[in-house]
């Protein structure tokens, strides 16, 4: 572009510039955002993307800014050029027309758009034009002026370019700074202090940028002002120039015309002069040379009359004879008349002239009486010419010089016209040219005179020439310079311009001048006014447009700044909101903790039933409140994008059990059947965030529990997403059930027999499921979780906004059921975070099914070191047993089977007691597989008679029944609640145990344990402390607390369970003690300690352990000496009085494994410790 512009400058691209100009004009009228401020700035508010795009747009901006700068320069230069070319070419009509045709060509071709090709073509064309121009330029001065202007323009161009580039540089710098500041805020730092600092910076940066931008704008405005001023000067100069030019041409025209007229007049006069001279010679020849004279008055008159056409300017000629006084009498006698005196002041008309009345001439030395004359002046015959003063002078000079002599202008006799008299002397012989005046006087015999009527003379000439109307001619006799005599022309009216041409009438002693003037004053210089005015208007327009553009940029920038400010404020508000939420939540939780603790204590005291009920209600409400606060906090975290998922291995089934136990109370209360099922294809250990996964499911199940009122079921099932696509015959039984939920007699083939919505529809919209993308990382698995219920369903109109925070189906819902309505929203966010989708299908009155997918990693069994293996003892003895499940509902049976399979029990299913009998008898006969050791009967198929029959059958079928090696199969009842009637069943030994639904691993193991080991029933209550004792016995435990009393208490408590306790009083000491290798099995760490608190100490310990593990890996430390405890990880448990979630999370974050509340509670201690120590 720079090259082009420069090239254009050198090619003198008046036409190119014009086309550019036109284009810009169009562009600007369409879009005022010439400066690239095309409203592209932060239209994109997605902060994460801003960073990338900002750089791009800055680049674009810079580019555009430069182009516009160049365009501006080009316009200015082009304008100057254009008008220069115009003014230079004005004197030359040809050139002008060429130029115009050039322009016309340009426009007619429609070259408004402007490609490089066209540009070059145009400049080429222009080059031709230019090469022609010098030939056309006749005017050298014009050329030089053009050259000068070219230089000026170059200089101007350089200057302006420098200025504009500077300005644009300033602006772009400001912009880029502003934009550079953006990425700063993209990484939300956890530290609030930092954030605030950042915000301060954020506030400052736009301000700086703004001031820079403002100064740039000021610069531009100044530049614009300079430009306009410059253009004003240029237009004034242009006006002046064109005006001068016009004036000059006018003057030249006048001079030409005047000179022409003068020359013609002179020529004509000289022609008549010569004729008069010839006449003089004629008279000399024929009057004096012959004797007697060859001519008389008659011949002379006739001759002169007939040759008058040769002297068009003379009114008449006459011949006067030189007569001395001595000869007068003789002459008078001879002629017959006396010599008359010429009378002055006689103004009587020629017709009335009577020479007889005239007085005779007074006596003089000499006389010059007229003897011959043309008829037009016959009245002067006999008048003595010497008696007129002027005539006398004339005669004397004429005879002395021998040339034609003119009188000064005077009124001719008897004609009121001003005229001059030309006099030639007639000599008697031909004199040599160098004759002295005396010789000439002596040789003089007479005088020939001719009178010229000047007015008619000039008028005749002027008539011959055109444009008599345009100029006024005056002819002056300027022999006497101080008093010139006006010989022709009206009075002088000053019209400004005057040209004087001198006239030579052949008489050197007389001087004549011709003065010419234009008749009219010069017209106003329209051309100059128009050009200059046009230039001025155009430059003002450009100025205005640029001013508007600058203003607009200014405004946009101001808006932008405001927006940034508002954005910063909004962000600050957002941060403040999150902080507020966090703070307030924390502030609420702290006292709530006190409330809950006190309530717990209150409940432990001796209360009457009413009081206890109140206290329990208060406690439950408090817990609800805490959970709501946690939800709100979650929402805030999700909104601020600060929620991060963990990547830890966990047992999905255990998580589901956890959820089930959470809702088991409520579901039993409502008599809802709650069941979970995990497909066999789902790996045991998966890697992900168990807490969040649990939260999603808990949310969904919680909703279902909330909205399912009358009897029904809630069914949570987990499958691999790929299973959905499997062929139906290979498909999981439970999944298949969803596919063809058909009515089976009076009941639906569902968990509880109630109808449900089509589960498959709930994930119909999932993109991940529909597109087959099998080539994912092999360790990634996609889980499909569905939660179906037989609740009241979601109304159609509410289904759209169900995932919006704080929205419930309708406002009455919250009144009915309570809740904040953010559970689903949080769930959706969490699912999104897990890379999955959530969807649902709901029908009013039938129920809802929620489905979601989540992408997790396949975990290795070994990777889950911390997996709770408390139940292993009890499960190991159940492994390999066989069980028969009697249930008429297939799905429910499958769920039972799933749970039993987890314990390693083989399961057969019978749909009715009768079928069960068949199985039992078959089993006894074939006995191919392991013997049947338990029969689980759902309460719906429970019939007392059949049971007895089965019992008998079982007893019969087992040939070795009664012996220790083959105990008879036990009977278990599956029931949703423990009614007294059922307890009675148990006590009456009809069944060996009752399994209360919802089923979970602990219930099964507990029940089986009880049934299979009869003697230990009563020890159940004491089991836990004993377990704790078992757990901790002989363990080396480090207690870290700065408080001596606390230390003592903790020590005492742990010692009680058989642990070997070491105490230290500071974080530093703890770090020292736990520097691997060491003998400690666990560490209990106080959080708040001076110098180094628990968090920091833990972090340090973990760092050291990591180092040590590296050493082990690299083989520096032999593994054998340490036992197989690789990787090294000492369980560290926080001791805290603050058991709310936030602290817990922080504990986990810095590498702790759990926490126990202070003071120790047995149960909690147990559950916390149990995870780390296997039962022995």
């Amino acid at each position: 572009m720079v090259f082009l512009a420069v090239a254009g400058v050198f090619l003198k691209p008046s036409s190119v510039v014009l086309s550019v100009y036109a284009r810009i004009w169009v562009k600007m009228s369409l879009n005022c955002n010439l400066f690239g401020s095309d409203g592209r700035f932060p239209s994109n508010f997605k902060l994460k993307k801003v960073k990338d795009q900002m750089h791009g747009s800055t680049g674009v901006w810079k580019w555009k800014g430069k182009i516009s700068t160049l365009l501006l320069v080009a316009i200015v230069v082009g304008l100057i050029w254009f008008f220069y070319g115009l003014s230079c070419s004005l004197p030359n009509a040809k050139n002008k027309s060429l130029f115009l045709s050039n322009i016309r060509n340009l426009f007619s071709r429609g070259h408004f758009s402007f490609s490089q090709h066209q540009l070059s073509a145009l400049s080429g064309q222009d080059g031709i034009t230019r090469s022609k121009k010098p030939d056309d330029h006749a005017d050298d001065s014009c050329k030089s002026v053009c050259f000068w202007s070219e230089k000026t323009c170059l200089w101007l161009l350089t200057m302006m370019m420098a200025m504009i580039l500077r300005a644009s540089l300033l602006r772009s710098e400001a912009w880029s700074k502003q934009h550079l500041s953006l990425p700063w805020r993209l990484n939300p730092q956890p530290q609030q202090l930092q954030e605030q600092q950042q915000q301060l910076i954020q506030y400052k940066l736009p301000l700086q940028a703004q001031s820079q931008a403002k100064s740039a704008t000021k610069w531009l405005k100044k530049l614009l002002f300079v430009f306009v001023a410059l253009m004003l000067l240029v237009s004034i100069w242009l006006f002046h120039h064109i005006y001068q030019d016009t004036a000059l041409r006018r003057k030249e025209t006048l001079a030409n015309m005047c000179d022409e007229r003068a020359r013609m007049l002179q020529d004509q006069f000289n022609v008549s002069l010569n004729h008069v001279h010839a006449l003089a010679i004629l008279v000399s020849t024929f009057h004096h040379g012959k004797y007697p004279s060859a001519m008389d008055q008659k011949t002379f008159g006739e001759y002169t009359e007939r040759t008058a056409f040769e002297r068009p300017l003379t009114s008449g000629v006459a011949y006067a004879l030189k007569v001395t006084h001595s000869e007068r009498e003789q002459f008078e006698k001879q002629q017959g008349w006396t010599i008359k005196k010429m009378e002055h002041g006689d103004q009587t008309l020629v017709q009335d002239f009577d020479p007889a009345k005239m007085a005779p001439a007074p006596i003089q030395d000499e006389y010059a009486p007229v003897i011959f004359c043309q008829r037009t002046v016959a009245h002067i015959v006999s008048i003595d010419m010497m008696s007129g003063k002027e005539d006398r002078d004339n005669i004397l000079r004429a005879r002395a010089t021998g040339k034609g002599v003119l009188t000064s202008p005077f009124k001719l006799l008897k004609s009121n016209h001003l005229g001059v008299v030309l006099t030639f002397a007639v000599y008697e012989r031909d004199l040599p040219p160098d004759a002295t005046p005396e010789q000439r006087i002596a040789a003089t015999v007479g005088y020939l005179g001719a009178s010229y009527d000047l007015r008619s003379l000039v008028e005749k000439i002027l008539q011959q020439l055109a444009s008599k109307q345009t100029i006024v001619v005056n002819v002056y006799d300027t022999t006497n310079m101080s008093a010139p005599i006006n010989m022709y022309g009206s009075d002088v009216v000053d019209t400004g311009l005057l040209h004087v041409s001198s006239l030579d009438f052949g008489d050197p002693s007389r001087k004549h001048e011709m003065h010419c003037r234009f008749k009219h004053k010069p017209p106003p210089p329209w051309m100059a006014i128009m050009s200059a005015g046009g230039l001025l208007i155009i430059s003002l327009l450009i100025g205005h447009i640029f001013h508007a553009a600058i203003n607009r940029i200014d405004k946009v920038e101001e808006d932008y700044r405001k927006m940034m400010e508002l954005k910063a404020r909004a962000e600050a508000a957002d941060v403040a909101k999150s902080q507020f939420l966090a703070t307030v939540s924390h502030e609420i939780r702290t006292p709530m903790n006190g409330v809950l603790g006190m309530l717990q204590m209150l409940m432990d005291t001796d209360l009457d039933p009413d009081q206890e009920d109140y206290a329990k209600t208060a406690h439950a409400s408090g817990k609800d409140l805490i959970s709501i606060i946690n939800e709100v906090l979650d929402q805030a975290k999700i909104e601020s994008g600060r929620l991060e998922l963990e990547e830890v291995p966990f047992d999905l089934r255990a998580v589901l059990d956890n959820v089930v136990s959470l809702f088991s109370g409520k579901s039993r209360e409502k008599e809802i059947e709650l069941a979970v099922y995990v497909s066999g294809q789902v790996p045991e250990i998966i890697v992900g965030d168990p807490g969040r996964f649990r939260q999603i499911i808990a949310n969904l199940v919680g909703n279902s529990v909330k909205f399912t009122n009358d009897k029904g079921h809630i069914f949570v099932s987990v499958h691999l997403a790929d299973e959905v696509r499997a062929p139906s015959d290979m498909m999981d039984e439970v999944l298949k059930q969803g596919l063809n939920a058909s009515k089976d007699g009076s009941e639906w083939n569902t968990l509880s027999g109630f109808p449900i919505v089509d589960r498959w529809k709930s994930w119909a919209g999932f993109k991940q499921l529909s597109n087959k993308d099998p080539i994912e990382k092999s360790e990634m698995i996609k889980l499909l979780v569905t939660v179906e219920d037989t609740g009241e369903g979601i109304p159609q109109d509410a289904q759209r906004r169900i995932f919006t925070p704080f929205m419930q189906a309708d406002s009455s819902t919250s009144r009915h059921y309570g809740g904040t309505g953010i559970g689903l929203s949080i769930s959706k966010c969490l699912v999104d975070l897990m890379g999955g989708e959530i969807g649902f299908m709901s029908e009013c009155g039938v129920g809802s099914t929620f489905s979601f997918t989540a992408v997790l990693m396949r975990g290795e069994l070994g990777s889950h070191d911390l997996k709770c293996r408390i139940y292993e003892e009890s499960t190991s003895e159940l492994k390999g047993l066989r069980a028969l499940v009697v249930d008429k509902r297939r799905v429910r049976a499958e769920v039972t089977r799933y749970h039993l399979q987890r314990l390693g029990i083989f399961v057969d299913i019978a749909s009715s007691l009768r079928a069960a009998c068949l199985v039992v008898s078959n089993n006894s006969t074939t006995s191919s597989s392991a013997p049947l050791s338990m029969v689980l009967i759902d309460k719906e198929v429970w019939e007392r008679e059949h049971i007895i029959e089965i019992r008998d059958l079982l007893k019969d079928a087992m040939p070795n029944s009664g012996t220790d090696s083959f105990p008879p199969p036990k009977l278990f009842l599956l029931a949703t609640s423990c009614s007294p009637e059922r307890n009675q069943l148990k006590s009456s030994h009809m069944v060996d145990g009752i399994l209360t639904k919802p089923l979970k691993l602990s219930i099964l193991t507990g029940c089986f344990h009880e049934a299979f080991s009869n003697g230990r029933k009563r020890q159940v209550n004491r089991e836990k402390p004993a377990a704790l004792g078992n757990l901790l016995k002989g363990k080396q435990i480090l207690v870290v607390d700065d408080n001596a009393v606390n230390r003592k208490v903790a020590e005492g408590a742990l010692k009680k369970y058989g642990a070997v306790v070491t105490c230290v009083d500071s974080g530093k000491a703890a770090v020292k003690k736990l520097n691997p290798p060491h003998n400690f099995d666990a560490c209990f760490m106080d959080l708040q300690m001076p110098e180094m608190d628990g968090f920091e100490a833990t972090r340090k310990i973990r760092d050291k352990e990591a180092e040590f593990n590296e050493k082990i890996d690299s083989g520096e430390v032999p593994l054998e000496t340490l036992g197989n405890t690789s990787p090294w990880h000492t369980p560290i448990l926080a001791m805290t009085a603050d058991v709310v979630q936030a602290t817990n999370e922080e504990c986990m974050k810095c590498g702790m494994d759990g926490y126990v509340s202070k003071p120790f509670e047995e149960e909690q201690l147990y559950s916390a410790v149990a995870c780390f120590f296997e039962l022995r």
Binding site: N1043, A1044, V1045, N1046, V1049, P1090, K1158, P1159
Partner: protein, 151 residues
């Protein structure tokens, strides 16, 4: 005095302590931790508590007598005291400490001083009560009786 009478008095006295809120369940837990292997556990802990608390109260008095009170130190001391008292179950001391800490946060020196008085008072109360309790215990032991277990 009969051993049984002494035992009855002991039980009544300790119950009154719980009832009046001088002690809480934590103290019971402490008592449960005491067994044959560790016969003077409660005594040891409580003595430790006395020493610790007296030191802390002394430090607190010192700190609050300063012209410019360093609330950070005060807070740390009170935190310690709170921890110890809650560990042995000296509930009223603990509650006084909680209140104390609130005023620390507000940096209210006068209120802190008042609180210190309150804490001091509560401490001496619980100290005398516990000492009485231990005396009774020793008497029972000396009389050859066993200390009744409360639940």
């Amino acid at each position: 005095m009969e051993v049984s009478e002494m035992q009855r008095q002991f039980v009544e006295y300790s119950q009154s302590l719980f009832r009046e809120g001088y002690l809480d369940s934590q103290f019971t837990q402490l008592q449960q931790l005491q067994d044959e292997s560790n016969p003077d556990f409660v005594m040891e802990v409580v003595t430790l508590f006395f020493e610790d608390s007296e030191r802390l109260i002394r430090d607190l008095t010192c700190a609050l007598d300063q012209q410019i009170v360093d609330f950070k130190t005060v807070d740390a001391h009170v935190h310690q005291l709170k921890g110890s008292s809650s560990s042995i179950g000296a509930q009223r001391v603990k509650n006084a400490c909680v209140e104390f800490r609130n005023f620390c946060e507000e940096q209210n020196a006068d209120a802190c001083r008042a609180c210190l008085q309150q804490v001091n008072q509560e401490y001496f109360l619980v100290k005398s009560k516990l000492q009485t309790l231990f005396t009774m215990e020793q008497q029972i032991v000396a009389a050859g009786g066993s200390i009744p277990i409360m639940d």
